[in-house]
Amino acid sequence: MSARVQAGPFDLAAEMENFGRGAGAVVTFTGIVRDDTGRMLALELEYYPGMTERVLAEYGARAAARFGLADWKIIHRHGRLNLGEPIMMVATAARHRRAAFEAADYLMDWLKSRAPFWKREIGPDGAGAWVAAKDSDEDALKRW
């Protein structure tokens, strides 16, 4: 049960070692830098040291209580991330698969709109626009 923010990459295998012992189902989600515009080379992620870690831990604990998780882990990167690099991961472990799936889905919906991170697209000319929050991400929270 842990949340952390880091600049460097993470190793899914190492993170999953000893994760969720005793659980029957483990779900992981990995978000990867993707170019939707055809002009992006990288993302730059800014965060709020202190608050961001606290919010991640808070949502993890909330998901654990709501879905009865045996274990959970959230890792989110900041700084400059090139196309194809993993941005973040969420892992959930539960007795049954439905709970593990729902908890991961729930965490992703909350992190999208409530985790204090701000993304900017970096193009060939340098820093570009800040990524705007999507209404659809805000709407997704109403599912829970």
């Binding site: 608050m51 973040m88 999208k112």
Partner: protein, 83 residues
């Protein structure tokens, strides 16, 4: 009271610095925003559209009517885009 005010993303860029330490008597976040916006054109442009700004008091999300009480740190930023 003395207050640390933090800015993130385009608010930081418009204001030209990531944080400043200020002396204020503002009772609520709304009062504080009015006070800051009055400082100069950069602050004014950062706070021109408060519908696009989110706030935190001591690292907890708060709305504009929230009282500052004995807050030590206030932050302004755009809607979050994590994940």
């Amino acid at each position: 009271m003395m207050l640390d005010v933090l800015y993130f993303a385009w608010l930081r860029e418009r204001i030209g610095q990531p944080r400043e330490r200020i002396e204020t008597r503002a009772a609520t976040l709304r009062d504080l925003v009015a006070e800051l916006a009055d400082r100069d054109e950069w602050h004014a442009s950062a706070f021109a559209d408060m519908g696009a700004v989110r706030c935190a008091i001591d690292q907890e999300l708060a709305d504009l009517d929230a009282p500052l009480d004995d807050a030590r740190e206030v932050a302004f930023f755009p809607p979050m885009t994590g994940g």
